[in-house]
Symmetry: C2
Subunit: 380 residues, 2 copies
């Protein structure tokens, strides 16, 4: 079995393009990972996820540990076989969802105890158990369990939390069984405070990880603060390892983060939006439920080559959403994921060509234009 | 443009196999038509519907006239283009859904006035308007507007209703614009009464149609009464035209109806069941939500070659349904439609070989066996 290996092929400013090699396939970077929360990228067949251009997907430890359960997935051959996705899978540690979804949370140095949001069962998640669950799922990239203060906490809270997060990172490393081709990523915390971010990075580096994620962002601080934090953080993260910005974001967020040295992203935005009628286009976002689309024979995005754009009109999608037809979510999710993967591909091409700044300016100008106009007259 | 044409290639007892030729493609008979109520076969991409083996789908006039509206569909290029299904479409007249779904129905000789179940608008459906809507949708096979008494009405009510239905059939024929390749089917009514069914057939034959449907069955009378009605009805229906049994049914219903001379079927059962967790197998029906499937690594039906059966376990489908994941409905619908189309294919093959009775006995014996057993021990 081959090793887990990352190499940078080209860089353009702080941005890099390259690939992560794993036994289950190559991950072209910068990469966007569609979110497959409960063992499925919602509304998508796995082969359709691959057709959009995805090299890797993300699975949620919190959801899978509660249902169907990590031991059950292991017994059925692991998450890849269970959900028929043969390529790499990254799993989060479960910590973030415990904080955002579970009830009656109790945090101690040992770990966190909580009540399942599904059946109310009391469950303990420790760094060791999180690593074990991710091994049972057979995750290719395992994330350490971390702790992230609620947005708006004061610096002292972030400082104390960082001690716990670093201790948990050490315990996660200790619990992780080294296997060729499998990777463990550390998570940089420290809020928007430069000294804390630097202390976090130094601590993680001393432990040693196969990749470094930036956590605690996209939690309400806004794009400006997020970019400022990346500006103060990324120069200190080891260059020879993949950099992963967790839970980000809009196309514009991704572009800005790539320009600051990020290699990997995950976000529910393209899939969740696909189920609620929001579509991403080269002219910004649209709400397909809007009456202006009801007679529009044009595709969502004329430059997109996905099945939804080559086969169906905005009018049809508008009808499907109004009639609550599942096919609406299926088609718009497919489009949105294709849009995101096309963006990543264009970003990789631009970095390789040394033209990322020009590409970014052009993409942003397109988004700023707003949606294509509806011809005057009797549409809608 | 070629003509609409039906030919029987082989028969076996009262059962026939052959094909309906239309400019949009051939319909192999006996045929099962998946139901695409609102311009989509629920939870299915149109190419996936075709992959299951469907030659034709059914669209519901009632739903499409209310949303998005027949004129709107026409303006967008017709129903085939709207929903990206290039093969034949049969549309019903809307009458049945007015009776089952609409509020404040008022029936007169002219037609039926009702309130939309979507927005409460008052709408009139006449034989002429139903034919016009189906022309606007560009339906390949148009159905006449008929009237069907509520199940359990007395013979006098069926007799009076039949007068109206025959008058509407005449008006429907007058309103239908003859176009090469397009067909108009009459609907035989008359409840479970032999003399009324015969009067209905004679009346329709005098008007002249491209195919004859049997209506007013599968409305609560039970399989025995349905088969008895077919036994007294089918010998009188013209042999050289397609015979369509509306809204039927279970695999066993279909098999029995084919043995009585039916060539075409439609039913929501495979698609609706696919969304509620019911799966059809060669060993009868299963409920995939049942705990016995939670650790079962086997496919729904080991003899099925659909994507759902070749790629996923019962355990995974059980998980998807428990987690309310859309992919569960997508996969099980695909399986159920494949199961129905495989059944039709096997039926056609058996008729051509003159072995329908043996095939029917074998299929029924399989259904009667019940689901494959769960190995003893620690599953579930």
């Amino acid at each position: 079995m081959s090793e887990f290996r990352f190499h940078v092929q080209a860089s353009d400013g702080a941005a890099r393009t390259g690939a992560i090699h794993t036994p289950r396939g190559e991950i072209r970077t910068p990469a966007f990972m569609p979110v497959g929360t409960a063992g499925t990228v919602k509304a998508m067949l796995p082969q359709s996820v691959r057709e959009t251009g995805a090299d890797i997907i993300l699975g949620n430890t919190y959801h899978l540990m509660l249902r169907p359960g990590a031991e059950r997935v292991a017994r059925l051959g692991g998450l890849h076989k269970f959900m028929a996705w043969e390529r790499p899978i990254l799993t989060d540690s479960g910590g973030f969802q415990v904080m955002s979804l579970a009830k009656l949370r109790k945090l101690t140095d040992a770990g966190v105890t909580f009540q399942s949001h599904i059946d109310g069962a009391t469950i303990e998640l420790t760094p060791e158990r999180s690593i074990e669950i991710q091994r049972l799922l057979d995750s290719d990239i395992t994330m350490v369990l971390d702790e992230c203060p609620a947005y708006g906490a004061d610096k002292k809270a972030y400082d104390t939390s960082l001690d716990l997060t670093l201790a948990w990172a050490q315990r996660s490393k200790g619990a992780f069984s080294l296997r060729p081709g499998y990777a463990l990523f550390g998570i940089v915390q420290g809020g928007v405070f430069e000294d804390l971010r630097q202390r976090s990075i130094a601590g993680l580096q001393a432990i040693g990880f196969d990749g470094y994620a930036v956590g605690g962002l996209a939690v309400g601080e806004g794009q400006e603060a997020m970019f400022a934090t990346l500006d103060m953080t990324m120069p200190h993260v080891p260059d020879d390892k993949p950099h992963y910005l967790m839970g980000v974001g809009t196309p514009d967020d991704i572009l800005g983060a790539v320009q600051r040295g990020i290699d990997m992203f995950d976000c529910v935005m393209p899939t969740r939006s696909g189920r609620t009628g929001k579509g991403f286009t080269r002219r910004g976002e649209i709400n397909i439920r809007n009456a202006r689309h009801a007679l529009d024979p044009r595709p969502i995005d004329a430059l997109c080559t996905c099945d939804a754009c080559t086969g169906y009109s905005r009018a049809y999608l508008n009808h499907l959403f109004k009639a609550d037809e599942m096919l609406g979510a299926m088609l718009l999710t497919r489009h949105n994921l294709t849009y995101y993967q096309d963006l990543m591909k264009d970003i990789r091409t631009a970095i390789a060509a040394g033209t990322l700044a020009a590409f970014a300016a052009e993409a942003r100008a397109g988004w700023a234009l707003g949606d294509i106009e509806t011809p005057s007259g009797d549409w809608a």
